[in-house]
Amino acid sequence: MNELNIKAGQNPSSRKEVPSVVIRFAGDSGDGIQITGSRFTDTTALAGNDLATFPDFPAEIRAPVGTTFGVSAFQINFGSRRIETHGDDPDVLVALNPAALMVNIARLKNGGTVIVDSGTFTDRNLKKAGYKSNPLEDGSLAAYSLLEIDITKLVLESVKEFGLSQKEGLRCKNFWILGLVFWIYGRKREDTVEWLKTKFAKRPEIANANIAALNAGHVYGEVSELGDGFDLYSIPAAEMPAGLYRTVTGGEALAWGLVAGAELADLKIFFGSYPITPASPVLHSLARLKQFGVKTFQAEDEIAAICSAIGASYAGALGITSSSGPGIALKGEAIGLAISTELPLIIVNSQRAGPSTGLPTKTEQSDLYQAVYGRNADAPLVVLASRSPSDCFEVAIEACRLAAKYMTPVMLLTDGYIGNAAEPWLIPTVSDREPFPVNRDIDPEAFAPYSRDPETLARPWAVPGMAGFEHRIGGIEKEDGSGNISYEPENHQQMTDLRRNKILGIAKDIPAQAVEAGLETGDLAVVGWGSTYGPISRAVDNKISAGKSVSHIHLRHIWPFPENLESLLRGFKKVIVPEMNDGQLKTVLRDQFLIDAVPVTKVTGQPFKISEIEDAIDQALES
């Protein structure tokens, strides 16, 4: 396409070098915005940038076209420096219709760039989006650099030769805009062309039309004057530790971590699950891993999902179930049975916003109480939390280790943001790791179902099929040792103590709490858990650079806490706890340590901005 004249001023050699950029793609939920985002992500990763993404889509699968509640968005922050978050405010907003502009314009940085498909700014669409006048004409976008392109018309022209219907042709719009954005940021198209050829191998005309749209968007950038003050950019590759990388979402990393952890424990996975947003990607990933002996079972409901997993553990597999808050609530009684029968079990909770159905596609961390306290009676289990997409891999392995070694349910907390977001990942090597195989070498003469390993307090795991170990277990209180039904008052006290002490004893077997950034003592500790890692990390780094005495502590082990956590926290004058809930970790910290942990909370369905954490740090240091 170099036969077209490329204007000197837009020659890639004169691109403006910037350390990072935040782009937000937004359009109708049928516009393929998530695909645009994931293609841009892969290409950006291949270009060597560090990145973080935030897919932000509505709960409705196909909301009425052109409405604000049908707007789907994908934000990516990429750069030549370490990227911790998907970025506070976008530098660039791509809005494929008026509704997408309406919903997202307030996020855009002052002076940022808006790219709109002016072909969709019809009276009808403006009205649907709630505009009284056309924002492209009424001056309301004066604070931004506006790029109006009739993409609707251009994309149809670019795919004319493929004989598609108008509807099919317009479906190529997302690749047209991707082509243009690739041009603006100097990205290569080859990877996306290959992806399209594979994706539409059975419908080459669709692949070719999308490729044509991609190229047309790119050419548009090359040949047109994008307007005064409209710059082209280059973002140099980030300095990353050497090694082999890939991009990974939390859902994938979690599934792969479970497979790795089960292999290290010498167990086969049974995964019982019921579809629920946003937890289903883990089920989808594992269903494709049968070659590893993974058996997935789509149960009739949440209760059957966990009960089948507990049955599987009873029969000798590593039983795993997965859901989101409302589904975890349904599993509560069965979790109690797994605690009482002391069977290994992993319960993955991909948290979402709000009580009841709440906001299924929005992110929140509000199931910490449910994880730590949320069962009838005294029913302790292990609670772990992953902080990022790739961290899901490590936390899943840790969940497998603790569940099998201590014969206990483990609740693994992740959330919709981590599950769907992607980041580059330095691929670990599982074969180098120390295995932690389950011990089934039990002496039949000495066997008692509720005898205990003196060190771990775990009971032996004899499974059906092992001759000489036939025994009965159940939810009725059992006698210490024999496991026979026991209603003796002293025995119930003894068993309650044992169940508690077994879990608390795990604190001796987990890493001491590290400080992510800053010193081990100081004026202020910012304590986080889960997906607030990114914004807390960046905010604390910024404040340390500004000379403040602030440290970042991020918890993976939430129950039990690491042994040194209390003394660590007491080394700071103040402790603040930013959480996407109404202050839950704050309560647990106060409960356990009687320290004055101060909540910093946000439940808007959107992750924290770096600036919000920075403000909270300033406020804490000043007060």
């Binding site: 590893f292 079972f297 025994h471």
Partner: protein, 338 residues
């Protein structure tokens, strides 16, 4: 604590655990427990492969009284536990014990799905038409008008027929017996031999809260006239004189009781039991001892692929010659060196 005994030497007593049985004296569950303990020595399953799974309720205490592997779980969920056990290890011989409340009220959804999936296990449904362990409330199989603490003026609930539900869910085996039936082990052996979910409804007397509820069918004086013992390939004949039979009314597509020798009816008019005939099974399962006798024995048996076989076929298809490598999985797809 357990001594391994070669299977051929096992006797019913070898399947009894050391736990004291705590059902009420005279409970029908005792007879069912004995029938199961009499059945197992005749089967070719090694003892360590038996797993008895139950939910909550009087009959669900069953596993504690067996010396096999056993799992007493939570209310209504036994089918889900049993399914997880069987998928994990299809070699296990899984028996599920439940009651009318556990199986068809709180656990109705799981019952529906285990039956339609056709997981290979035996379900012993101890139906006493009452809640026993919670002290006598009406159950989903209780008759209309039953007065209980929770229905002092009589239940208005339309009762569920477990075997009609079973067949409606698409199950491939349905049988019925009663607690003290001498031939109950024969039915249990047929259930065991059937590969797939085998539902055995066992009419069980609750001596405390619903005593004699099945007397209209089981009492000695009415039994011959109110029971038809079905046998595959045999005519559906019953009665003390062996002169009553079941005939299909082809105009109404319903069953009717007729007397051989009356109105020109001969044995040729009587339906011959075909346990592979689902339509017939649906009608036999619905007979309730009112106009028509209650059917006992194997009402339906027509095997199909089991759920766990379907899974195992997919697992086998996914196997490759080489041991799969997680490290290779992580490196599959787009990667780059930094």
């Amino acid at each position: 604590m357990n001594v391994v005994v070669p299977n051929e030497k096992l006797k019913p007593a070898d399947f009894a655990s050391d736990q004291e049985v705590r059902w009420c004296p005279g409970c029908g569950d005792y007879a069912i427990l004995k029938a199961v303990q009499r059945t197992l020595p005749d089967l070719d399953t090694p003892k360590e492969k038996y797993v008895f799974v139950s939910g909550i309720g009087c009959s669900s205490r069953f596993p504690y009284y067996m010396s096999t592997y056993g799992f007493h779980t939570i209310h209504g969920r036994a089918p889900a536990f049993a399914t997880g056990i069987k998928i994990t290890n299809p070699d296990l011989d899984v028996w599920m014990v439940t009651g009318d409340g556990d199986g068809f009220s709180i656990g109705g959804n799981h019952m529906l799905h285990v039956l339609r999936r056709n997981v290979d296990l035996q379900i012993l449904l101890c139906n006493n038409e009452i809640y026993g362990l919670t002290k006598g409330q009406y159950s989903p199989t209780s008759g209309i008008g039953l007065k209980t603490p929770s229905s002092p003026t009589g239940s208005v609930d339309n009762p569920l027929k477990p075997l009609v539900f079973t067949l409606g869910a698409g199950a491939r085996f349905a049988a019925r017996g009663y607690d003290t039936q001498k031939t109950l082990p024969v039915i249990l052996k047929r259930a065991h031999a059937h590969k797939g979910t085998s539902m055995v409804e066992i009419l069980q007397n609750c001596i405390v809260y619903n005593d004699a509820v099945f007397d209209n069918v089981l009492a000695r004086d009415v039994a011959p006239e109110k029971q038809v013992h079905v046998e595959h390939g045999e005519p559906l004949i019953y009665g003390a004189e062996k002169n009553k039979g079941i005939r299909l009314n082809t105009k109404t597509l319903t069953l009717e009781a007729v007397t051989i020798g009356e109105d020109g009816i001969t044995e040729d008019d009587i339906l011959v039991h075909d346990e592979k005939n689902r339509s017939l099974a649906m009608m036999l399962a619905a007979m309730d001892g009112d106009e028509l006798p209650v059917a006992l024995g194997v009402i339906y048996c027509d095997p199909a692929e089991t759920y766990e076989d379907g899974i195992e076929h997919q697992m086998d298809a996914a196997k490759s010659a080489e041991t799969p490598s997680i490290d290779a999985l992580l490196r599959d797809g787009h990667t780059w060196e930094s």
